[in-house]
Every structure is written in structure tokens, then in C-alpha cells.
Amino acid sequence: MSVSISRRILLSALALGLLSALPARSQELDLSYHHPVLEDYFAPVSAAPATPDAQGFIRRWSLLEPIAKPEIRTNAIFDDSYLNAEFAKEYFKDQMTIVPKDGQKVKLDKKTKLAWHCFDSQRYNVKLYRFASCLGLHPTEALFLAVTVVNVPEDMTVRMSVGSNSASKWWVNGEEVILLSGDRRMVVDDCVSPKITLKAGRNVIRGAVINGPGMSDFCVRFLDGKGRPVTNFTVTNQ
């Protein structure tokens, strides 16, 4: 979800104090605050397989450092045609098959190499903006790629539920299952896939989230036939 350009200009001016005609008194207000750090949002991956949280959200993900998309000035361009074309582009070799290891790098072009980072999200939603900003990377006008592995004890018929900020597309075992188009806010259970079958054993989940200005995050879980969260599986990064 972006803030429109005009709103951004206004807010930027506001942040710089340009719109303030009168100074405000603040003698009685504590002006200290916590500066965000990566640990607020992500923890290192442990050796043991993870499980979804109590609400079924998958928190273990491998995230690729953001692919710069400086041409995205506004999220108003995120119609279905644009997104399908953008998500179909190949940015690096084996893009749609890789199950990356922590620290593994991929080569976009002669000048650009990006690294994968394996994390357990501290929150139900994976804060892509903070993933980038806390690593010192440009957090907006970007394409984020995410991969995880879901291990199920037996074949399971489920629906994949996604909320993302902004648009995104998701694949299960190489099959596209859902597209979230438009200038989207991250809302739990915003979009839910048709019924899909998770095969007994290992299933690779892959997502691509694109955003212009503003915050970016996503949340993913599986729902059963009655819309209840599915939790009886493990999550690994391989």
C-alpha cells in the first residue's frame, strides 16, 4: 500500500516542519523513542523445524534482498496485466526453482548480486520494509521474493490465505495459486486461493511482493474446508 505522491509530498514537508506555523510546547512530553532494529522483526532461524503460530501463520521464510524497481512511482500501476508481466520476468537463473540457503547469493546482472536471508518473523506478518531498512537497503520501490518449505504428514486439501502490501503473486510447488492485484493493504485473509492439495512431505511455497512508496509486508496461512487455520505441519527453509 502506498501513500500517493501528493500525500507523500505533504507528509515530507510536514516531517521537515515546513507546514508548522507555530512552535508547539513540549516541556512535559518525553520525546525519546525506540529506534527499530532487525531483531524487533526477525530472529535467526533455529536448527529445529518451525511450526505455524497458533493462528496458522507461517513465520519461517527465506527473503531475497529487494530487487530495485525505481520506475514504480505509484502503486496505481498495479493492474493485473502489469503484475502478470512483472512477475513473469526472470531476474536470475533458477528463480522459480531455487530453495535458497541463508547467505546464498544470486546474480541479477554484472553489477548486482543479492543475498538470501533466512529468518523467523517475530510477528504474524513478515515486515518486508523493515527487512530491507534494517539491513541498510532501500525498502521501497522494490520487488521482494520469498520462499519457504512446508512439510505435511499426509496429503491435505487446503486453501492458501494471503494478505500483502502491496500486490503479490504466490506459487505452491511451482503452480501459481493466487494473485493479489491493485494497490493493496495487508489484511489477514484478504485473498484465498481455490482448493489446493499439499502433498505428503515437502511443498515449496514461493511468493513475490511488489511495492512502490510506503510500507510493505505479507502474511500467509492455510485454511481448512471450514475456514479454520491449519497448523499440523512444520516449516523449514530447505
Binding site: 507528509l11 506555523a21 512535559e28 512530553l29 510500507m215 502474511c219
Partner: protein
């Protein structure tokens, strides 16, 4: 010179009548309007930037409200005999840049012409650091039934937060910590009703003209600091929110909800449309009645002019002229008839079938069984140049196909006059109540000069004018087209 004046007047009237009755008139151009408040009989709202709008009747607006400080998205609340105004602006914080600050300031009156007018020095009550998951803009007040003053603020970048203020000073309550209560919205507002706190937020895209997808959603909580859940049990910290109002009626991007309680059962919501298709796609002030359905706020649809049965909530009888019931041909049919007899459509009774039998002068008005007869079908037409009330113009109510108009008498009774003249006693205020029924009020006031009278059932079949009472179905009506 007179010719020019006439032309200008004609143009003005053309513009007035070209606009739908749902829209406010006059200078209604504003973005991020504050909650509408009433001060010394006038209505005020302030927007982003300096200044604001004011209105004598809540229908026709003009420039002229004054607010210092600039900044964005103010809010106003009356506390005691003073007005507390909040807005967000830049502030050189001790740690460098900030993502907005929220300030408050007092004034004894909102009337810029009053000698009592003037704002106190603004106090900083909330802020967000330049790398926090929050932008401290879009403040909104709530004074809860326990006398505690709350302020929500924030935008899409991170969380919506709430802080407690001191209602006596307008300053931040000592030791109070901000609490995150929602994400992925902005332009929030707070309400309290029947033991629930309601958090209104604006989702969607702002500031993109006719393509703005702004919409107003809501969650509720038993505690002012949340969790605010929507009708699906989703926390607004997870993006939840039940729709209150989205685009429609040739306008897009409703946002910046404000709650105005006229009196018991009469609630209004103010907001802006990002783009009004009838006004060059500009951002405009808008007002709707606010309904409550199963504990959730719902924006009423704008009242639509048209021809209706006006049905009493008391008995279900309908407002009608006190004239002879003219029987139609047919009468009693045999219960057992030949199924092979051809089926024909019967004609409804027409106005020309009966109106010659009606008295030429004034006719009494009563309620009766609805039979979709001409003396029971009323045409409701907006009269926007006759003034209005908060959110809507006055209406004339005439028997369909005629100029016979519903009118109030001096002694508080009802009559249908033979010709609509535009006199105040022939003008009606129509407002949808919180339960979805309508009240119909006179434009003229009672002898005391203060109260407008309400169309009410005095018996199942009799009607008169009386005092509005939300607890009585005598005061409630439904507009039905059947």
C-alpha cells in the same frame, strides 16, 4: 444592471438544481475535514491547511472558519464551554526529524468575529520518530462517558496509535504511553455507544482524484485501547475492518469520518469525498445520516426524491388525503372460478379517475390502509434554495401529479393545501434515524421559536404535529415505493 443580476441568479439556481440533493451546497471544497461541531448556532469544520468552512444551517457552506497552525487533518471537540482543536504539523524534536507531531490548542469560541475568539499556544501531545512504524498525523478526539479524553492518530506507515489527554488542559496525561490499535489505515475517528468503543479508519488510496479508493471501515472493542475487532472477529491490527461507506452516488473516496449526534436517534457522519463527479472531481465535504445495525454503524443512503407511500411505524397505515375512498370496479369475485377463464391485468386507479371528486381547497390529512390509491401517493422533492439542516435540504411533499402540498397549520395540525407556494409551512425536514426509520419535521418552529415539530401519529388513523421522541413509534415513518 438588473438584467445581469437576473442572469447570475438564474445561473446560480441552475447550478443548485443541477446538483443532487445529497450534496451540500455553497463552498464545500475541503480535504480531511474535522468532525463538524456547532458553536453559537453555527456549524464549523476545518481541513488540511489553514482555515475551514462554516454554515448557518448545516446545508449551505462558506469559507470563513479560522484555524491557526496550518498542518494537516485537524479535529475539534467541545469540552465544557471551550473548544479543543488538534492538528498535526512538523516539529523540530530533540532527536532530529520526526514523522509528524500532534498538537492541541484551545479557543473559547469558533466564531472568528467574536471578541472571545483566539487560540492558545499549541501543546505537543504526541509524535513519531523519523524511523518509527508510525506517522503522527490525522488526530481524532473522543471524550468518553467517563470523562476521559482520548486521541487516535496515524497513517498507513505503521500503526494507528491512541493516547490519553487531560480534558482539563488538553495536554498528554502524565505517564501515558501510546498504544498501537490498528494498521493499514489513516484518518481515524473514535466513537462510544452502548458499552462499545468504535474505531473508524480510512482504508484505500488517498489523493488520486476520481481513482481514489478511500473507504471508511470500523472495528469495535470493549476497551478504548483495543483490541478493535471487525464483524469477522479480525483485529484491526491485522487489517480488519467492516465497511461503513465506500464510493457511490457519483463520488469516490469517502474518508475522515466525523460523528455528530443531533439528539437521541439522530446521528450524522461527516466526511470528505476525494472526488465529486458533479464538481469537477474536487474534494468536497459530505454528510450522511448514521444508522446502527446489529451494533455496527452504517452510512445511510442519501434520501432519494421520488414518489412514495409514507407509512407510519406505529401501525403501518399510510399518510393520505382525507377524501372519499373511491371503489374500483370488480368487487367480490367468486372463490371458485373456471381456471380456463382468460387472465387480464387490472388497471390501477388513476389520479384523473378521482381528483375531480376532491375538494378544491384545503383537504385534511390522516392515515389509512395503504391501497396504492392516488390520495396515498406522495412525491417528495428537494427544494435546495430554501435552506436546510445538517446534511440535507428542505423538501416539499405533494400528492403525486398535483401541487397539493402537505403543510403545517398554525395550531399544530396537518393539512394539504391546494397549491405549493414555497412557504415555510410547506417545507419539511427529512432525516433517517439510527434505526432506519425516518422523522419528518416542519421547517417552521413552535411558538417558542426553538423547536421544529414532528409529523406524528396521534392514533392509528390520525396524524398531527408534536414533539419528537425517539422512543415512540408515533414519530417514525417509512418511505416505501410499492
Amino acid at each position: 444592471m438588473k438584467k445581469i443580476e437576473f442572469s447570475l441568479a438564474a445561473i446560480l439556481l441552475t447550478v443548485l438544481f443541477a446538483l443532487p440533493a445529497a450534496a451540500q451546497i455553497g463552498n464545500v471544497y475541503i480535504h480531511d475535514p474535522s468532525t463538524i461541531v456547532k458553536c453559537d448556532g453555527k456549524y464549523y469544520t476545518f481541513g488540511t491547511g489553514s482555515g475551514g468552512l462554516m454554515s448557518d444551517d448545516g446545508w449551505t457552506w462558506r469559507d470563513g472558519a479560522v484555524r491557526t497552525g496550518g498542518g494537516v487533518a485537524p479535529d475539534v471537540i467541545k469540552i465544557g464551554d471551550r473548544y479543543l482543536v488538534s492538528y498535526s504539523a512538523g516539529y523540530p524534536g530533540t532527536e532530529g526529524k520526526v514523522r509528524g507531531v500532534v498538537t492541541t490548542m484551545w479557543t473559547k469560541t469558533l466564531d472568528p468575529e467574536s471578541p472571545d475568539f483566539g487560540y492558545s499556544e499549541p501543546e505537543l501531545v504526541a509524535f513519531a520518530g523519523d524511523d518509527e512504524d508510525c506517522w503522527a498525523i490525522d488526530p481524532a478526539f473522543l471524550l468518553d462517558p467517563y470523562g476521559r479524553l482520548w486521541c487516535s492518530y496515524g497513517t498507513y506507515f505503521g500503526a494507528i496509535r491512541i493516547v490519553e489527554l487531560d480534558p482539563g488542559t488538553g495536554k498528554r496525561k502524565a505517564g501515558n504511553k501510546a498504544v498501537d490499535i490498528a494498521i493499514d489505515c489513516e484518518a481515524t475517528a473514535l466513537m462510544y455507544k452502548d458499552g462499545w468503543y468504535y474505531l473508524l479508519g480510512t482504508h484505500g488510496t488517498c489523493c488520486d482524484g476520481v481513482n481514489s479508493t478511500y473507504n471508511i471501515v470500523c472495528g469495535r472493542s470493549r476497551n478504548v485501547t483495543g483490541p478493535y475487532l471487525d464483524n469477522m472477529g479480525r483485529d484491526m491490527l491485522q487489517g480488519g475492518g467492516k465497511m461503513v461507506l465506500s464510493a457511490g452516488n457519483r463520488a469516490t473516496g469517502p474518508g475522515h469520518f466525523g460523528h455528530f449526534v443531533e439528539e437521541e436517534g439522530v446521528e450524522k457522519m461527516s466526511f470528505h469525498y476525494e472526488a465529486d463527479y458533479n464538481r469537477s472531481g474536487r474534494s468536497v465535504l459530505a454528510v450522511r445520516s448514521l444508522l446502527w445495525k446489529n451494533g455496527w454503524p452504517v452510512a445511510a443512503d442519501p434520501f432519494r426524491e421520488g414518489t412514495y407511500e409514507i407509512e407510519s411505524e406505529r401501525r403501518g397505515y399510510s399518510l393520505e388525503l382525507a377524501v372519499d375512498f373511491v371503489r374500483q370496479q370488480g368487487g367480490m369475485r367468486a372463490f371458485r372460478i373456471d381456471p380456463n377463464e382468460p387472465v387480464v391485468e387490472l388497471e390501477e386507479q388513476k389520479l384523473e379517475d378521482v381528483q375531480d371528486r376532491w375538494p378544491a381547497g384545503e383537504i385534511g390529512v390522516r392515515a389509512g390502509d395503504y391501497m396504492f390509491r392516488p390520495h396515498q401517493r406522495w412525491t417528495v422533492t428537494a427544494v435546495p434554495d430554501k435552506g436546510g439542516y445538517l446534511g440535507a435540504p428542505y423538501y416539499k411533499i405533494t400528492i403525486a401529479g398535483t401541487e397539493r402540498a402537505l403543510a403545517a397549520t398554525e395550531d399544530g395540525e396537518l393539512v394539504a393545501v391546494p397549491q405549493y407556494t414555497g412557504a415555510d409551512e410547506q417545507l419539511w425536514r427529512i432525516e433517517q434515524l439510527t434505526d432506519g426509520t425516518f422523522r419528518i419535521m416542519t421547517k417552521i418552529t413552535c411558538a417558542c421559536g426553538k423547536h421544529q415539530k414532528c409529523l406524528m401519529s396521534t392514533g392509528d388513523s390520525t396524524v398531527a404535529l408534536g414533539e419528537y421522541d425517539f422512543s415512540s413509534d408515533n414519530c417514525k415513518w417509512n418511505f416505501r415505493d410499492r
